[in-house]
């Protein structure tokens, strides 16, 4: 999603730009908001956790229940991000490369999860997959429980993260050079060879970016999961849900410690995937 790289503007403009007014005012508004709303709150969170001391922090953040919650969060988010990336690649490919009636409607529907409140998604998913629900009446007798289970968590996380996986890959498929693919086919490559050797290397960085965004979104998600998971400690309790239940017990220290671990997980994962992606871009060039 980071489409604006600061280095992409030539220096020539930079010098001319100083005649424009408004630097002071825009800098004041921007720094007030960023410092006041982002930097200070997160710094306070981290300092508060640091004030517990190493032993206190571990005692608060590394309880068996918290460890189980990290495992459920990570496992469900990774699974959901992988599924979203694969389904996202499929949907993006079909939207760009194939013509069929209803293509534009399908394209618009992809954005529904971005606009639909996650609480609504969670509510609806839980009613769809319970025993009497539209889908549950077929799936539950088959032993597939989509509500109050880990599968349910994965399902809603796929829902909330799917648009990210699709929208990042779609413009890259649009920009692919079809001549290269035709050349590969003319030179005797099979369809699958062309896809694996020519198409995939070009879109892989975008797929990885989509995966990272989907993962970041899934790790922090709360609204939809709280409806469908049943929130059973050690089984279906994700880390954000545990933070909230600690808060409701006024156990601020524990909530803060778990929050810092969660923050660390999502930020470090974003860094790892960013590095990976830069490498992929370099290899593709």
């Amino acid at each position: 999603m980071n489409t604006t790289s600061p280095s992409s503007i030539p220096n020539r403009r930079a010098r001319q730009r100083t005649v424009l007014p408004g630097f002071g005012l825009s800098a004041a508004i921007t720094s007030l908001m960023i410092v006041g709303l982002v930097v200070i709150p997160l710094a306070v969170l981290i300092l508060r956790a640091a004030s517990l001391g190493p032993a206190g922090f571990l005692a608060a953040a590394w309880t068996p229940r918290a460890r189980a919650a990290y495992a459920v969060s990570l496992g469900a988010s990774l699974t959901a991000a992988i599924i979203s990336s694969l389904l996202g690649l499929l949907v993006a490919w079909v939207l760009v490369r194939l013509e069929f009636p209803g293509r534009r409607i399908l394209d618009a529907l992809v954005d529904v999860p971005l606009a639909l409140p996650t609480a609504v998604a969670g509510l609806v998913y839980s009613t769809l997959y319970v025993e009497k629900g539209w889908l549950g009446q077929w799936l539950v007798p088959m032993g597939i429980r989509g509500a109050y289970s880990r599968l349910g968590i994965v399902l809603v996380l796929v829902f909330v993260s799917l648009p990210f996986a699709i929208r990042v890959v779609q413009p890259v498929i649009e920009s692919l050079d079809k001549d290269t693919e035709e050349a590969a086919r003319l030179l005797g490559a099979s369809k699958s060879q062309t896809f694996l050797r020519v198409v995939l290397p070009g879109i892989l960085p975008a797929v990885v970016t989509g995966f990272a965004l989907a993962l970041a979104r899934a790790l922090g998600e709360y609204g939809s999961v709280v409806f469908i998971s049943g929130n059973m400690p050690f089984k279906t309790e994700i880390a954000p849900v545990l933070i909230v239940s600690r808060l409701e017990e006024f156990a601020y220290a524990e909530a803060t410690a778990i929050a810092v671990v969660l923050l660390g997980m999502s930020l470090s994962m974003l860094i790892v995937v960013n590095v990976l992606q830069q490498r992929l871009v370099r290899n593709a060039q």
């Binding site: 007014p21 508004i29 921007t30 709150p41 389904l87 013509e99 529904v112 996650t118 649009e174 954000p240």
Partner: protein, 300 residues
């Protein structure tokens, strides 16, 4: 996103049909079925029951009112911030600029629950500013200001992200011309910048509004979840569900879902305008002039 497919032929091949079926099944099962079932469930007892669930429950009425007062304030704050931040980043160079741009994205990667907790640690009773706020008799957490702060945090990147690429693509030339002709800063903004970025700005506002109306996690933490006082519409959906009043919960959910559909229609319309404008921008570029269109107008 709406350009014509260049490969219509493969659609009729068995593989093409299989891929289309897969994509339609994915979107149908994951997105359309849940969306349709909101409306079916909400109206299962007839429109009268739907209306009564919404209008005859004072707590639900209050939640609707609260959402309608919290979301616009957060959106207005983020519109002002978004325009200022985009102007700063797209029109000036200064040390720390790229760090600032990456800070814009932080709210995307922080769990809303964590964001809410951070606000509680500052403004809550046990928080950093707790004693001061108590002395001033100002309530932030478990009250309206906290809801606005939390909502503003989660929607922070949405407007600025839409504006930066558009302002960078347009370039500062028109604005500098206006300045050299004697226009002052506000004149430049209202007469030159704003008309150029209006569709991108609207796009950001529509997205921010949808997110603001629907935010759950961050708002849940700072609200204290007090029915009839700090419950917004999404929180009301959850509370009704917990009270085993699923039909009423679905009624509130259906209003939010209708709003989401409205957002999508607006989004499609605005994206069409944006597409036309970016084509006009490209056509207006003189070939061989200082900006090379093949690099997207971003220079050498």
């Amino acid at each position: 996103m709406t350009s014509k497919p260049r490969d219509a032929a493969t659609a009729s091949s068995p593989l093409g049909l299989l891929l289309i079926a897969g994509a339609v099944a994915t979107v149908g099962l994951l997105i359309v079925a849940p969306l349709a079932s909101v409306f079916v469930d909400a109206f299962s007892n007839g429109p009268r029951a739907w209306w009564e669930a919404l209008a005859h429950d004072p707590d639900t009425r209050h939640a609707i009112w609260l959402s309608l007062t919290v979301a616009p304030v957060a959106v207005i704050v983020n519109t002002v911030f978004g325009v200022a931040a985009a102007w700063l980043v797209a029109r000036f160079r200064f040390p720390g600029r790229s760090l600032l741009v990456s800070l814009f994205d932080v709210p995307f990667s922080v769990s809303p629950v964590v964001a809410g907790l951070a606000l509680v640690l500052i403004f809550g009773r046990q928080g950093l500013l707790g004693p001061t706020l108590a002395w001033l008799a100002v309530k932030v957490i478990f009250a309206w200001p906290g809801l606005v702060l939390a909502t503003t945090f989660v929607t922070l990147p949405l407007v600025v992200r839409e504006l930066i690429p558009v302002m960078e693509a347009i370039g500062p030339e028109e604005e500098m011309a206006a300045v050299s002709l004697g226009a002052n800063g506000w004149q430049v903004f209202w007469r030159v910048t704003l008309p150029n970025i209006r569709w991108a700005l609207l796009h950001g506002i529509v997205l921010a509004n949808a997110r603001a109306m629907g935010e759950f996690g961050a708002v849940y933490v700072v609200s204290g979840h007090i029915a009839g006082a700090t419950d917004t519409m999404p929180l009301r959906v959850e509370k009704l569900f917990q009270e085993y009043r699923t039909p009423a919960s679905m009624a509130v959910a259906s209003v939010l879902a209708a709003l989401a559909l409205l957002t999508l229609v607006a989004k499609v319309f605005i994206e069409r305008q944006l597409e036309t404008e970016s084509k006009e921008l490209e056509a207006a570029r003189v070939p061989g002039a200082d900006t090379d269109p093949s690099t997207g107008g971003l220079g050498k």
